[in-house]
């Protein structure tokens, strides 16, 4: 024991004296400090979750102990390797040392040191809560256990098992490289498995959580559905999955310790057996060459050679040096280890390139290159940084500098050879990534290799930014006298850019090596982003090159390393370098000025904060006008000329406005949110009363007030002109191919709350108070306002739109005529008498078109798909989905009101699909979706059905601008689309699909930042109106029958559709009260409770199959005795639950077949009144599975314990 203490205290003392221990401590201190003090530093979750609450603490401990694996490796691995690196093992093991004392002492010392280093997390977090600038509304004080419990149960156990593992490997292999490799392997395996796991969209949570060494899946498994109030009160409990997980991994740690104790040979002879052999052999070989008798003692003459010095030799020197430096790097094993890790990363990412937002798509080149390059960029930078340091210091580190520095070559030749070597290595890495991409596409069965696009992205876009970092790294390594400090600063610059950007310092001109973000699109290539990228690259490359020139000037040569000497040398070298420096400076000033002129002078420069401030000002100044009587638009006519090559349009518009209120209106408020409207004229005398900055909000006074029912004509000019380029935030509506803007570019009448800030955190920053809710149902103004468009009810629409000759221009409406004039193509579209929502869109692109006719209830419907020629994949599926949707919706709801349905592709600068009248623009990704196996869900099919359904649920029936109305369009469109899917895929696939909807709903509510609402009062909670809405409507159709529900929908639709379409005085729109009533009318009394639960409150079940046994009956049948447990809760908006009495009908089912492939033998709704109830079911076949609510129709947080295997007693 004495010896143990000896080793233990030695280890501790050694660690306490070494700087690294304190560096680790400080690192953890500041990371956790900022995690609490700066809420944007690490995103824990939504705005209501305490920054230092139990959930945040748990997440932080998991994340930090994950990344801390490297620190753990560094401490534990080196504790034992130290003896072998410094050859002290020969001193130790020749003394009588016990294995326990040696290993135990070293291990325990490392453990204590590591725990100390990680305790920086505790102190940092605590200190963070006192930072004056922290968000104190999200900080709770005095909960010491919240801090300590995650530290003990996650971090300490992590240190124990990972540390023991590293210790074991280090002791048994005695090679630091293997220890690092092990660290990388652990890291990789984890990332790979979780990537695979999430890509498979598996809902399995048990085993994956138990065997999760890091804890992210474990946390997800336990807390994925935790609501805000649970996240702020609950710690991971030391029971169940969490306990098993911790036991499993502690066990691994113990096992590692046992291993090392058993297998560690404690004798010098055994320890050095391998290396001894190798070293001895080398020594013998060397010795055998030493004595060589018999050589003449007379020295022969050396041949006479000629020296040449000129540009040829300079090149030869450059090539020889570059070649030497490249081979220096390529002969290093760690380099290849990094490359191998990079390739593995790239291939894994490449494998999942075809998964976007949970859907399978074709791994087209822009997706593939993005996938394989994503993680690799980090490797480019890491390898570049590391080897920049190695190359700059190589001669000094190897003591070759005495010879090297006295050679007849220029400093620039030497320095440039270092740069060239790094460039070659980086180009090699880029090429490896290119091959990974091509390989991944091949694996994925996609053979359309666009090598030119790979080339552009990798060599033209990525490489220059890497080059900037190379130059920076070389510069810092040259200027600073410490390799590792320079590494740190390079990394710091990289991180600093991100941090500065998040704090509103967004200008490309001062963020090193930054460039305005760009998006590749198959419709447009790099399109209009090219200019901004080109000039920002020129600017930063010139600056980086200037750093390079400075580096050459002050590069160390010889032994004088004081700055006085180096500056003197720099003066001597200056004459040759000044021209180069001058070129760099001129280029930087020139390109920087040009960039500034474009980003700041031609265009208004606004960072994110300034943009938010504009939104906040808009609300502050004009919210008071919300809901004041304003006329409604009843007719829109616009002449729009699109100039795609200039990313601009111009035109004029006409609105017919009608006073549909009961009072005269003398002031008209006009919002111009896109700054596109000018020359506003009314057809009666008027004058401008006021205009806000940027003309966002203008108030016009009419000389003669507009009387109730009276109309007035409003004419205006409209247009947008792109000037030069901007520093990011290019308007996505305008593209060389794929212009797409909507009515937002036309004036809006009256205050529109759509422009308000919604993020509660941002609102708090702007002192705005909580986001305003939609008014209650029955609100006199809200209920007379259309949900989506406050300025209009229903309109007639006509437009003439023109574009360049090679493009097709589209807008809602039927094509009346098209003609060519002045090298432009004109189209006239009109809706005729058909009333539509005031939701126009103008689109222009180079399109391929496919059209088909569908015989609809009111004659033929033209289905037309306008797509990029490169994206033919989904066109037929879209047509098929449109036909299937038209068939189902016309049969069950009402006839389609239009004669055409058009799907248009637009560039991926924005990510949505949107339903305009008979016109639905989709983002590119929906045009490359791919169905890999027959039972895969075709999402484009689903989206098409959903958007088509909006032609009924929105374009026929729309609710008022009150709470709940959103579900009338979204939930009903989602339910309608689900029904179309069910017809295509059948009930079994729908079950799987609905389970994902359930998962989506439960996850959505756990992220809720405001409060969850019941479905009929939904405000802005998308997970309620999509996932919950579709789930409960689907379940309701199960309870009362599909046809009965559809009949209820039909009745509701026919009664309330086109509200306000013909009235000259506004009347209330329908809302969810009428909707729920329509459902109640068709629901039998014993099921009315379900309407209350599903639509009017938040109800969750906890259903569970407890046991199931089968006994054969006398008449050769099988009797199943099934015990089930069932509980029901009501939740409030923050997720706090109260139990509810049970009086519910729930499916009780008995099945045959394997788990997940069950075939029902008996499925019946039983009335459940007790928490525990037993059922007897007699079936004809031998059953295998039984359970309660087996198809997960009800909302249940633990959805996979509803079924159980049937056993024989």
């Amino acid at each position: 024991m004495g010896q143990f203490w000896e080793f233990f205290s030695f280890e501790l003392k050694f660690r306490l004296k070494s700087l690294s221990t304190y560096v680790y401590f400080t690192l953890w201190f500041f990371l956790s400090f900022f995690a609490v003090a700066a809420q944007d530093f690490i995103n824990i979750g939504n705005d209501k979750i305490l920054l230092n609450g139990p959930f945040s603490n748990t997440v932080l401990q998991i994340l930090f102990s994950f990344f801390g694996v490297l620190v753990i490796a560094a401490i534990f691995g080196t504790s034992i390797l130290r003896d072998f690196q410094r050859d002290t093992y020969q001193l130790i093991f020749t003394k009588p040392v016990s294995k326990f004392a040696y290993l135990g002492g070293r291990w325990a010392g490392s453990f204590v040191t590591t725990v100390f280093a990680f305790s920086g997390l505790l102190f940092g977090e605590t200190a963070g809560t006192f930072a004056p600038w922290a968000d104190h509304t999200r900080i709770a004080r005095g909960h010491f256990w919240w801090l300590l419990q995650p530290f003990l149960s996650i971090t300490c156990i992590q240190i124990f098992f990972a540390g023991s593992l590293f210790f074991c490997v280090a002791a048994l292999t005695r090679k630091i490289f293997v220890v690092y490799l092990q660290g990388v392997a652990v890291f990789m395996t984890y990332l790979i498995t979780s990537a695979v796991f999430s890509a498979r969209r598996s809902l399995e949570h048990f085993w994956s959580a138990i065997f999760d060494p890091i804890g992210l899946r474990l946390l997800d498994s336990i807390a994925r559905y935790w609501t805000v109030s649970e996240k702020n009160t609950l710690l991971l409990p030391w029971t169940g999955i969490f306990l098993y997980n911790r036991l499993v991994w502690s066990g691994v740690g113990v096992l590692a310790l046992v291993c090392v104790y058993v297998f560690f040979p404690i004798s010098v002879e055994a320890l050095t057996a391998v290396s001894q052999g190798r070293r001895a052999a080398k020594a013998r070989q060397t010795e055998s060459e030493e004595p060589r008798p018999g050589r003449s003692l007379v020295a022969g003459k050396l041949p006479v050679v000629h020296q040449f010095f000129g540009w040829r030799t300079t090149w030869a020197q450059f090539f020889s040096l570059t070649h030497l430096r490249i081979s220096n790097i390529l002969r290093e094993l760690p380099f290849w280890a990094l490359v191998a890790v990079m390739v593995v990363f790239a291939l894994i990412s490449g494998h999942f390139a075809g998964h976007v937002n949970d859907t399978n798509v074709y791994p087209v080149t822009f997706l593939m290159v993005q996938a394989v390059e994503g993680d690799a960029v980090l490797f480019f930078l890491i390898i570049g940084t590391i080897y920049a340091g190695e190359l700059v210091w190589r001669e000094r580190d190897t003591h070759f500098d005495g010879i090297h520095d006295a050679l007849p070559m220029r400093e620039s030749t030497d320095w440039l050879s270092k740069l060239a070597a790094l460039v070659v290595v980086e180009l090699f890495l880029l090429t490896v990534i290119l091959l990974c991409g091509v390989l991944s596409q091949t694996f994925a069965g996609y053979y359309h290799y666009e090598l030119f696009e790979y080339f552009q992205e990798l060599y033209l876009l990525t490489f220059p930014s890497v080059l900037m970092y190379l130059l920076l790294a070389l510069f810092l390594q040259t200027v600073l006298s410490n390799k590792f400090v320079a590494h740190g600063i390079v990394l710091g610059v990289f991180v600093m850019n991100i941090v500065l950007f998040n704090f509103g310092w967004e200008d490309t001109l001062y963020l090193f090596a930054y460039n305005p973000p760009y998006i590749y699109s198959d419709m447009n290539g790099y399109g209009h982003f090219v200019r901004a990228i080109f000039w920002s690259y020129t600017y930063w490359l010139s600056i980086a090159a200037l750093l390079g020139v400075i580096s050459i000037a002050v590069a160390l040569r010889g032994t004088d390393d004081s700055w006085k000497d180096r500056l003197r040398q720099a003066r001597a070298r200056a004459p040759g370098l000044i021209p180069a420096a001058a070129v760099c400076v001129l280029l930087a000033i020139g390109s920087g000025s040009w960039f500034f002129y474009n980003a700041h002078v031609l265009n208004e420069y606004l960072n994110a904060k300034a943009r938010r401030e504009i939104q906040a000002d808009y609300e502050r100044n004009f919210k008071k006008y919300e809901g004041i009587p304003q006329p409604k638009v009843i007719a829109v006519d616009a002449a729009i000329d699109i100039f795609p090559e200039k990313r601009s349009f111009s035109g004029s518009g006409h609105f017919l406005l009608q006073n549909k209120t009961a009072v005269p209106i003398s002031e008209i408020h006009l919002v111009d949110s896109e700054q596109s409207v000018s020359n506003v004229r009314f057809d009666r005398p008027f004058h401008l009363v006021s205009a806000s900055p940027r003309n966002f909000y203008r108030i016009y006074a009419l000389q003669a007030p507009l009387l109730p029912g009276e109309t007035v004509n409003l004419n205006f000019d409209v247009g947008y002109t792109s000037h030069g380029f901007t520093d990011g935030n290019e308007r996505p509506q305008f593209a060389y191919s794929g212009t797409f803007f909507d009515s937002g570019y036309l004036p809006t009448i009256g205050y529109d709350s759509g422009g308000e800030l919604t993020d509660p955190r941002r609102r708090r920053d702007a002192h705005l108070g909580p986001p305003s809710d939609l008014p209650p149902r029955g609100d006199p103004v809200g209920s007379r306002t259309s949900l989506f468009f406050s300025q209009a009810d229903w309109i007639t629409f006509r437009t003439v739109v023109s574009t360049s000759d090679d493009q097709i221009a589209l807008a809602p409406g039927y094509l009346q005529r098209d003609w060519h004039e002045g090298g432009r193509h004109y189209y006239e579209y009109s809706m005729g008498d058909v009333k539509t929502l005031d939701f126009g869109a103008w689109v222009s692109a180079r399109y391929a078109v496919k059209a088909e006719k569908y015989p609809g209830a009111n004659g033929n419907v033209n289905i037309e798909i306008y797509h990029a020629a490169a994206h033919p994949y989904d066109v037929d599926g879209m047509i098929e989905a449109s036909k299937a949707g038209l068939a189902y919706y016309e049969k069950n709801f009402s006839p389609f009101q239009f004669r055409q349905f058009r799907v248009l592709e637009f560039p991926r600068y924005r990510n949505f699909a949107q339903s305009f009248p008979n016109t639905v623009p989709y983002q590119e990704n929906w045009f490359i979706s791919r169905v890999l196996s027959p039972d895969d869900i075709d999402y484009t099919y689903f989206v098409t059905a959903h958007e088509l359904a909006h032609q009924w649920w929105a374009h026929q029936l729309i609710g008022g601008r009150v709470e709940g109305s959103n579900m009338l369009s979204e939930s009903l469109a989602e339910y309608s689309a689900l029904r179309v899917m069910q017809k295509k895929y059948g009930d079994y696939e729908m079950h799987k699909f609905l389970k994902h909807e359930l998962d989506g709903y439960l996850r959505g509510r756990s992220q809720e930042s405001h409060k969850e609402t019941p479905l009929d009062l939904v405000q802005r909670e998308a997970y309620v109106w999509y996932q919950k809405g579709s789930l409960v409507l689907y379940a309701l159709s199960d309870y009362i029958g599909e046809d009965t529900l559809n009949l209820a929908l039909h009745d509701f639709l026919m009664q309330y559709r086109y509200a306000n379409a013909t009235d000259s005085l506004s009347v209330p729109y329908p809302d969810t009260r009428q909707f729920v009533q329509a459902l109640r009318d068709k629901t039998p009394p014993e099921l009315q409770y379900y309407i209350t639960d599903a639509f009017e409150s938040i109800v969750l079940y906890d259903n569970k199959a407890v046991s199931a046994t089968v006994t054969p009956t006398a008449d050769k049948k099988f009797k199943v005795v099934l015990a089930v447990a069932s509980r029901k809760f009501k939740a409030d908006g923050l997720g706090a639950e109260t139990p509810m009495p049970l009086n519910d009908y729930i499916d009780i089912g008995v099945f045959t077949g394997k788990k997940d492939h069950e075939v029902p033998l008996s499925l019946k709704k039983e009335k459940i009144t007790q928490e525990k109830q037993t059922f007897e079911v007699v079936v004809d076949q031998m059953p295998t599975r039984a359970g309660i609510d087996p198809y997960n129709k009800l909302i249940d947080r633990i959805s996979d314990d509803n079924m159980i295997d049937v056993t024989t007693p």
């Binding site: 010795e287 050396l302 041949p303 050679v305 000629h306 010879i403 007849p408 070559m409 040569r557 000497d565």
Partner: protein, 293 residues
Amino acid sequence: MALTITGLSKTYPNGVKALKNLSLTIGNNMFGLLGPNGAGKSTLMRTVATLQDPDSGTIFLDDIDVLKDKNTVRKLLGYLPQEFGVYPKLSALDTLNHLAVLKGVTRSSERKDMVDALLKQTNLWDARKKALHTYSGGMKQRFGIAQALIANPKLIIVDEPTAGLDPAERNRFLNLLSSIASNVTVILSTHIVEDVRELCARMAIISNGEVLLEGAPAESLDALKGRVWSKVVRSDAELLELEKSLQVISTHLLGGLHEVRVFATASPGEGFKSVESGLEDVYFLNLARQAKN
């Protein structure tokens, strides 16, 4: 070529005065620099080898200003530093070839002949394809010699070249050096007096950054002729006594007893016998004189 060093001074940032107004003229032959550790030999050599700038003073190689026109000097230079390392995992052949390119030997056939000859001369031919970092100390030193002789340098600066060489290799090296030394300026620094005596036409003794003596080894020896006396003393007390009264040049152990060498114009006393003076006596005497001043 002749090297003229005038008034060279160098003080390091830590205050060490490595060179104090040092002047030397080195002709077209082999020049030996003798001096104890820390005498300033390496500083002087690095300065001539363009790796370091003095605080003041000038160096001219014929009419080339060494301190200004470094690149011209580097073209003529062959330099073996006192301590040097090698690129790991690179063979002697590749490294020499690389260095030959850097020295402007761009004709590949000439370069090959030169590298091969050097490898043979330094007895590294058999090990030429092995990585340099696996070389033993002596082999590495021989490699250092080989690289210094690439491209027929006109100015050869070798800092302690024989350190670490076994006697046979040392002899070979000295032979090699003397065979190329005609019409070439060679500066050889060492603290091994024998090297200088065997090789150098002229020499200088440097200590504390100053030249103590400059001249031909033979002349220096002549100056001591008949003035070096030797005696074997039996006890430390006696040795101390002698140190106080006489100018002791050096003591050597001889079978466990001290042999004392003393400088005196006439016999310093009983028991002393006149011995032949060696270069070592010159060296020690000069150092001892400086220490006294």
